[in-house]
C-alpha cells in the first residue's frame, strides 16, 4: 500500500507547482490554470486526510472546493475577457497600468 505521506508530498508538490506556475507564467489563462492546480493539490490533501481519519468530511470539502473553483473560473474568465477587450492582450506583465 502506498503510504499516506506520498499523497501528501504529491499534494504539496502540486500546490508548489501551482505557485511556481503562477509566478513564472506570462499568460493570464495559464496563471489562472495554475490556481486551479493549487486548489487541486489541496483537494488531494483533503482526500488523503479523509482517508486517514476515515471521515467523509474531507471528500465533501473537495466537492465544495470544486464547485467554488468552477464559480471562480466563470468569474475569472469573464474578467479576463473584459481585460482582453480593453487591452487586447493577455500578457500578465502588461497589466500594470496602476502602480506606485
Amino acid at each position: 500500500m502506498i503510504p499516506l505521506s506520498w499523497y501528501l508530498l504529491l499534494s504539496a508538490a502540486l500546490f508548489s507547482l501551482g505557485v511556481i506556475g503562477f509566478l513564472i507564467k506570462r499568460n493570464l489563462i495559464t496563471v489562472f490554470m495554475s490556481i486551479e492546480l493549487m486548489l487541486n493539490g489541496v483537494n488531494l490533501s483533503f482526500v488523503t486526510f479523509a482517508h486517514q481519519w476515515h471521515l467523509v468530511k474531507g471528500q465533501i470539502f473537495v466537492f465544495f472546493v470544486m464547485v467554488v473553483a468552477a464559480a471562480e473560473a466563470a468569474v475569472g474568465l469573464a474578467i479576463i475577457i473584459a481585460i482582453f477587450r480593453t487591452r487586447a492582450t493577455l500578457a500578465v506583465d502588461r497589466i500594470d497600468l496602476m502602480k506606485l
Partner: protein, 680 residues
C-alpha cells in the same frame, strides 16, 4: 506734625495731565491743552512748596520748644499706598518717602520742570503735535517724581524706566525724522543696559536683605557693621551700571549727545536738569551701601572723573550748539559722580542742584537762539547775536560764567566743593582733583568758545560750511516746525520763553550762595554727613584760587582764539587730536563694530541660519526626508506587476512558515543569543 502732605498727588497731577492730554488732547482746543499741561506741574510744584513750607514751619516751631534738631526727626516722612506686588514672602509697596534729599530733588524737578513747561508753550507753539508734546512732558514729570519719592528700589525702578520712556518718546517726538527716531531708540536701549545692571542690583538687594525698602536696607546695614565688601560691592557696582546708563557716564554716555534730536526744552529738562541726574540721586539714596564698599566708591569716583575729562575734551570742538551743551552735561554729571565717589554725596547733590539751574538755562537760552535763528544750530553760522537777542545774551552770559566756575555764581560753589572733597581723599584724591581741575579749565574754555561764537563778532549766517551734510543734520531740530520763519533776521524770543530764562538766570547767580556746608548739613540726615578731617583754611583757599585761576585761563584762551573767529576753526591746526575729538574718539563706531554688528551677525548667521535653519530645520527636514525616502522605496515595491505581487505574497507565506516552524529560541541560543521571551 498735623495735616497730610498728599505726597501721592505730586506724581498724580502730572499723570492726570498726561491722561487728559494724551487721550483727548488731539480734540481739545490749544488753550485748554496749555492750561491742563501747565496746571499739572504747577500743582505739583505748589504741593512740594507746601510740603517744604509745612516742614520748615514745623521745624522752626519745634526749635522754640525743644532741642534744635528735634523738628527734623519728622523726616523721613512715609506714605504707604497699598501693596503693588505680593508673592509669597515678597511684598513691594507703593511707598513714598519724603526726606531732605527727595525734598530738594522735588523742588528742582517741579520748579525747573514748571519753568520749562512755560518755556515750551512759546517754543512749541507752532507744533502740530502740541498736545502730544505736553502729554509726554507731563508723563515725564510723573515718572520723575515717582523716582524721587520712591521708598523702595523697585518703585524707584518704575520711575527710572518711566523717565527713560518719556525720554524715548520726547527724543523721538519728531518721529518722521529718522535721526530722531534712531536717537530715541538708542537712548532707550542704552538705558536698558544700565537698567539691566540696576535690576540685577535689585535682585542682589532682595536676596541679601530680603527686602527692597531703602529705610529697611539702611537699618539692616546699620545693625550689621560687619557687612562689608563682597556682596555689598557687587550690589553697589550693579547699581552703578544703572547709574552710568541713566546719567550718561562712561561707558554708556553715548545716547545723550544723540538725544539732542529732541526739542530743546526737552534737552533742558530731561537731558540736563533732571532725568540724567537720577543716577546721582540713586547713588545718594543708596549711600548706605556705597559707604560700605570703598572699592565701589572709588569706581564711582574714577568713572566720574574720567567721564568729566573725556566729555569735556569732546565738547571742545563741537560745532552744534546743543551738542556742546550735551557733552558739557555729560562732563558735569561726571563731576557729580566724582563728588559722590568721594562719599561727599551732599556735595554731589549740591552740584546737581546748581547744575540744574545753569544747565537748564544754557539749554533754554540755546533754544531761544535756535528759535530766533529759525532752526539754526551750527555755531559756525551764528555770531553777533548779542545785538539781536539781548536778553538771551545776558542770561546766557550768566549761565556761562556760572558753569565756568567763576565766583560768585552758582557753579563756582558746587564745583569748588567737589574738587575740595576730592582733594581730601588721600593720594588718589589728588589725581581726581587734578583731573577735575583740568576739566574745569576745559569747561571754561568750551563754554566761552560757545559764547564767543554765538553772540560776539559778526553774523555769519550766510557762511556755508564745508560739510553741508553735517549742517543739515545739525539744523534739523526745529526745521520741520519752523520752516515758515526760516529765512529772516534773528529775533528775540517771546516772553513766555524769556521769563523762565530770567528766573533761571537769577537762580544761577544765587543758587550757590547757600554754601556747600550748610547744604550738606541740611542733607545730612538723608545722605550722611561727611566726617572729613577739619581741613585747614589755607588749603581750601589755595584750591579755590587754583580753580578760579584755571577757569580764567580757560576764558582767556577762548578769548584769544575765538574773539575774531571768521569761519576757520583755530583748534583744527592740531590736526590729529582735532580729528580724534571731532569724531568723538570713534566711540560710536567702536561700539557699532565691537558690539552691535557682532550681535547682529551672530544672530543672523549663527543663530538664525546655522542653528535655526540648518540644524533644527535640517533635523526636521531630515526626518521628513527619511519618511519620504522610505515612502519612495515602498512605492518602488508597488511595481504594478501582478506576478511580482504574487511572488511577494509567496515570499511572505514562506517567511511566515519559517517564522513559525524554525525554533528560533533554540537556534539563537545555539549561536549564543538568548532571548528572554519570544516576540516582544
Amino acid at each position: 506734625m498735623s495735616g497730610h502732605l498728599y505726597l501721592w498727588l505730586i506724581p498724580a497731577l502730572p499723570f492726570a495731565g498726561f491722561l487728559l492730554n494724551g487721550i483727548f488732547g488731539a480734540k481739545l482746543p490749544k488753550s485748554l491743552v496749555t492750561t491742563i499741561a501747565l496746571l499739572a506741574p504747577l500743582g505739583s510744584f505748589a504741593l512740594v512748596v507746601n510740603a517744604a513750607a509745612t516742614i520748615f514751619l514745623y521745624v522752626s516751631r519745634c526749635k522754640l520748644c525743644g532741642p534744635p534738631d528735634y523738628g527734623w526727626s519728622i523726616l523721613p516722612l512715609n506714605e504707604l499706598h497699598g501693596a503693588w506686588i505680593t508673592s509669597g514672602r515678597l511684598q513691594i509697596d507703593f511707598s513714598f518717602v519724603l526726606d531732605q534729599l527727595s525734598l530738594v530733588m522735588l523742588l528742582i524737578i517741579t520748579g525747573v520742570g514748571f519753568l520749562i513747561h512755560i518755556y515750551s508753550v512759546g517754543y512749541m507753539s507752532e507744533e502740530r503735535g502740541y498736545w502730544r508734546y505736553f502729554a509726554y512732558l507731563n508723563l515725564f514729570l510723573f515718572f520723575m517724581t515717582v523716582l524721587v519719592l520712591a521708598g523702595n528700589a523697585l518703585l524707584m525702578f518704575v520711575g527710572w524706566e518711566g523717565v527713560g520712556l518719556a525720554s524715548y518718546l520726547l527724543i523721538g517726538f519728531w518721529f518722521q525724522k529718522t535721526p530722531a527716531a534712531d536717537a530715541g531708540k538708542k537712548a532707550f536701549v542704552v538705558n536698558r543696559i544700565g537698567d539691566f545692571g540696576f535690576l540685577i542690583g535689585i535682585f542682589l538687594l532682595l536676596s541679601t536683605f530680603g527686602n527692597l525698602t531703602f529705610a529697611e536696607i539702611g537699618a539692616r546695614l546699620a545693625a550689621d557693621p560687619a557687612m562689608q565688601g563682597g556682596v555689598v560691592t557687587a550690589i553697589a557696582l550693579c547699581l552703578l551700571v544703572g547709574a552710568t546708563g541713566k546719567s550718561a557716564q562712561l561707558p554708556l554716555y553715548v545716547w545723550l549727545p544723540d538725544a539732542m534730536e529732541g526739542p530743546t526744552p526737552v534737552s533742558a529738562l530731561i537731558h540736563a536738569a533732571t532725568m540724567v541726574t537720577a543716577g546721582v540721586y540713586m547713588i545718594a539714596r543708596t549711600h548706605a551701601i556705597y559707604d560700605r564698599s570703598p572699592f565701589a566708591l572709588s569706581v564711582v569716583a574714577i568713572v566720574g572723573a574720567a567721564t568729566a575729562l573725556f566729555a569735556a575734551t569732546i565738547a571742545l570742538v563741537q560745532t552744534d550748539i546743543k551738542r556742546v551743551l550735551a557733552y558739557s552735561t555729560v562732563s558735569q554729571l561726571g563731576y557729580m559722580f566724582l563728588g559722590c565717589g568721594v562719599a561727599a554725596y551732599s556735595v554731589g547733590v549740591f552740584h546737581l542742584m546748581t547744575h540744574a539751574f545753569f544747565k537748564a538755562l544754557l539749554f533754554l537760552a540755546a533754544g531761544s537762539v535756535i528759535h530766533g535763528l529759525g532752526g539754526e544750530q551750527d555755531l559756525r553760522r551764528m555770531g553777533g547775536l548779542r545785538k539781536n537777542m539781548p536778553i538771551t545774551f545776558w542770561t546766557m552770559t550768566i549761565a556761562v560764567v556760572a558753569i565756568a566756575g567763576i565766583p560768585p555764581f552758582a557753579g563756582f560753589f558746587s564745583k569748588d566743593a567737589i574738587l575740595y572733597a576730592a582733594y581730601q581723599e588721600g593720594a588718589g584724591g589728588k589725581i581726581l582733583w587734578f583731573v577735575g581741575w583740568l576739566t574745569a579749565g576745559l569747561t571754561a574754555f568750551y563754554m566761552f568758545r560757545l559764547w564767543y561764537l554765538a553772540f560776539l563778532g559778526e553774523s555769519r549766517a550766510d557762511l556755508h560750511a564745508e560739510d553741508e551734510g553735517a549742517l543739515v543734520h545739525a539744523r534739523s531740530d526745529t526745521k520741520l516746525t519752523l520752516e515758515a520763519e526760516h529765512h529772516h533776521t534773528p529775533h528775540e524770543s517771546p516772553w513766555s520763553m524769556l521769563g523762565p530764562l530770567v528766573i533761571l538766570a537769577v537762580l544761577s547767580v544765587i543758587g550757590g550762595w547757600v554754601g556747600a556746608g550748610r547744604f550738606g548739613a541740611f542733607l545730612a540726615p538723608s545722605v550722611g554727613a561727611r566726617t572729613a578731617e577739619a581741613a585747614s583754611n589755607t588749603l581750601e583757599i589755595t584750591l579755590t584760587a587754583l580753580a578760579v585761576l584755571i577757569a580764567v585761563i580757560g576764558w582767556f584762551v577762548a578769548h584769544r582764539l575765538y574773539r575774531n573767529y571768521a569761519g576757520e576753526e583755530p583748534l583744527a591746526r592740531a590736526s590729529f587730536p582735532y580729528k580724534l575729538l571731532t569724531h568723538k574718539y570713534w566711540v560710536d563706531e567702536l561700539y557699532g563694530t565691537l558690539i552691535v554688528k557682532p550681535i547682529l551677525a551672530v544672530s543672523r548667521f549663527v543663530l538664525e541660519m546655522l542653528v535655526d535653519f540648518a540644524i533644527l530645520g535640517g533635523i526636521a527636514w531630515l526626518l521628513a526626508g527619511m519618511a519620504s525616502f522610505g515612502g519612495a522605496l515602498l512605492q518602488r515595491w508597488q511595481s504594478g506587476n501582478l506576478r511580482s505581487y504574487a511572488a511577494w505574497l509567496a515570499a511572505g507565506a514562506a517567511a511566515l512558515l519559517l517564522f513559525a516552524l524554525v525554533p528560533w529560541t533554540t537556534v539563537l541560543a545555539d549561536v549564543g543569543i538568548h532571548l528572554n521571551s519570544a516576540g516582544h
